[in-house]
């Protein structure tokens, strides 16, 4: 008998514990079961760390040019990844470039996500002619290559951080609109919505209380899957001489500047590219994991 008491207590304890198990705990226990998800999450954390604390951890000033130290190969004079044609430390510039990529990826996803969600809700909830007009518009835009669209818009409205975000968002909102619309259409048919309508709940209340919360998951999944696309698109456009302009260090314009030295100094075109690949890989792996976890129906698609 004496031994059963602690055992009972233990059982009770574990029940309480499991009830108190927070969402964050659940997130990490799910994450720990997928090594690709963990890898993606780790890369994203590293990126966020670099983009927040970048200025304090760069070994050199990323903007400081010193012509006598131009084109030093990696591991010379304390330059881990070498220097560029102006003698700027490439490692420091890559760290600062992380901030540009993170800002562009997240800002674009937010703007494109908000616009696309609003359009998707209007089209899916109100149906009728407004749905037809909006979705035709989406179809039309989707029948033009994304990267060319962003390039042309950015070249015309002018380069720069703010304008590349605007250009990417103009190119990106349509996917959100289409996905959110189909989610809203599916939700409208669900019993809890039809019964709310039957009991006379107002349209606005249904939208805010029932539809919007249920759109949160698809929006997050889609945004996380799109961020990688935005980061690669920005790098491509900055590489073509638009987008983020020098001397601001962005991985795309570093590759553009390094291009002229490809025959003599390989490190200029190698390391910023590796940074892009690791970033896009991390974001995509995390996005895939998030989709598989939050929306198991889509798994494997």
């Amino acid at each position: 008998m004496a031994s059963s008491l602690p055992q009972g207590e233990q059982a009770l304890g574990s029940v309480l514990k499991s009830k108190q198990k927070t969402k964050i705990g659940e997130f990490f226990s799910n994450l720990s079961r997928s090594w690709t998800g963990m890898l993606g999450f780790g890369i994203i954390m590293l990126l966020l760390f670099l983009s927040i604390f970048g200025p304090w951890i760069t070994p050199y000033d990323p903007m400081h040019a010193e012509f006598s130290k131009g084109l030093l190969p990696p591991l010379t004079d304390g330059h881990l990844l070498g220097t560029d044609h102006l003698g700027r430390d490439i490692f420091s510039r890559i760290i600062m470039g992380a901030r540009v990529s993170v800002i562009i990826g997240i800002a674009t996803a937010c703007i494109a996500g908000v616009i696309g969600t609003i359009v998707g809700i209007i089209a899916g909830y109100f149906r009728g002619w407004i749905d037809i007009v909006l979705m035709r518009l989406v179809d039309v835009q989707l029948s033009f290559p994304f990267i060319v669209l962003v390039l042309v818009i950015n070249a015309i409205i002018g380069a720069g951080l703010r304008n590349i975000i605007i250009s990417l968002a103009i190119g990106g909102w349509v996917i959100f609109a289409r996905v959110i619309r189909s989610e809203v259409l599916a939700l409208r048919e669900k019993e809890f919505i039809t019964s709310s309508i039957a009991t006379g709940v107002s349209r606005l209340q249904i939208l805010v209380k029932h539809i919007l919360p249920n759109l949160f998951t698809p929006i997050i999944i889609l945004a996380s899957l799109q961020i990688g696309t935005y980061i690669i698109a920005e790098a491509s456009i900055s590489f073509l001489g638009f987008g983020v302009q020098p001397p601001t260090p962005a991985w795309g314009n570093m590759l553009n500047e390094g291009r002229d030295y490809i025959f003599s100094s390989w490190w200029l075109v190698t390391f910023p590219g590796i940074a892009i690949v690791i970033t896009a890989l991390g974001v995509n792996l995390f996005g895939d994991w998030l989709r598989d976890t939050l929306d198991p129906e889509l798994k494997g698609e």
Binding site: R136, D139, V140, S143, F144, P145, F146, I147, V148, L151, V152, I153, A155, I156, I157, G158, G228, I232, A235, S236, F239, L240, G241, F242, L255, R259, I262, F263, W266, V269, T270, G273, I276, V277, I278, T279, A280, L281, N284, L285, D288, E301
Partner: protein
């Protein structure tokens, strides 16, 4: 079916029309093009004269109407630099783009289909993991960077191939590889999922149980039946290839429409930009049109909707 075809054809026209309209107004709102050709200290009369000569002093809607009226007849004006017909310059570059895109497409299919079939047939084995892994990594590699790395390896280090330019078949190798690699990841995924669908069917199990040899089972029974969804998916994806071609052409100085568009954007040579947008939108819309018709043809449910 005819209804569907007509509806989709009208959409092609709307796409091209809207693309031109948007780009036209963006260009006009971005600034007066005359300032690009005159020195900043040019006298007012000269600017006015130039504006009048090029018609920029008229109201915007008149300019737009005029532009559209001429564009319908294939007249996009003259290049602001070379004074040649803008559409003519673009059309001259079209064969080079087609050459690059088609060769890359064929190469990509030759790599992606076997890879996808293997990945699906050996589902959840090492082969599948490698196949899936390659597609995941492939999607993270920007095509322009892959191009740079190929230039570094084959032109700078091994000195086997030219780093850019056009003309000879040797010049085609690196851009073709780059553009093909850009599509391999997606095509492999299409093939894998189409094959997985078919491989679950009863007739495959029956054929397997009755002792049909593996190779025959895959080629005759499974791949043949998944070819239609693969082809439609690939056709729907060709626009992405076209977008990739623009970047690849810029990396390798390939004399196609993409590089021309890029250079004209750099030079702010707007008649060529508009003619280029027109051609790209038209090709892309036609590809989508054909792909949709194909898709509707093999999948009657679409037609009814």
């Amino acid at each position: 079916m005819l209804d569907f075809v007509i509806k989709r054809f009208l959409q092609v026209i709307v796409v091209v029309f809207l693309a031109l309209t948007v780009v036209f107004f963006l260009i006009r709102l971005a600034g007066d093009p005359t300032t690009l050709f005159l020195p900043p200290d040019a006298p007012r009369e000269q600017i006015e004269e130039y504006r009048e000569l090029l018609g920029y002093n008229r109201p915007l809607y008149v300019q737009y109407g005029d532009f559209m009226y001429n564009a319908i007849q294939g007249d996009f004006g003259e290049s602001l630099r070379s004074q040649e017909d803008a559409l003519g310059i673009v059309l001259d570059r079209l064969p080079a783009t087609f050459q690059l895109a088609i060769t890359s497409l064929i190469l990509a299919l030759f790599i992606a289909i076997p890879l996808g079939v293997l990945s699906a047939y050996k589902r959840n084995t090492v082969f599948d993991r490698i196949g899936v892994g390659l597609t995941v990594v492939g999607q993270a590699v920007p095509s322009f960077w892959l191009g740079l790395i190929l230039i570094f390896l084959f032109a700078a280090q091994l000195q086997l191939l030219p780093s850019g330019g056009g003309g000879t078949p040797v010049h085609m190798i690196l851009p073709t590889l780059t553009l093909a690699a850009y599509s391999v990841a997606r095509f492999t995924r299409f093939t894998r999922s189409a094959m997985l669908d078919v491989l679950q069917k009863d007739y495959i199990r029956t054929a397997k149980a009755s002792g049909v040899p593996t190779m025959r089972l895959i080629m005759r029974y499974a791949l043949r039946n998944s070819l239609i969804p693969i082809i439609t998916l690939v056709a729907l994806d060709l626009g992405v290839l076209l977008g990739g071609a623009v970047i690849t052409e810029a990396v390798f100085s390939w004399p196609g429409v993409g590089r021309l568009l890029w250079q004209s954007l750099m030079n702010r040579d707007f008649p060529i930009v508009l003619a280029g947008v027109f051609i790209i939108a038209l090709i892309y819309a036609i590809i989508n049109f054909v792909a949709d018709i194909l898709y509707a043809y093999v999948n009657p449910q679409i037609r009814v909707k």
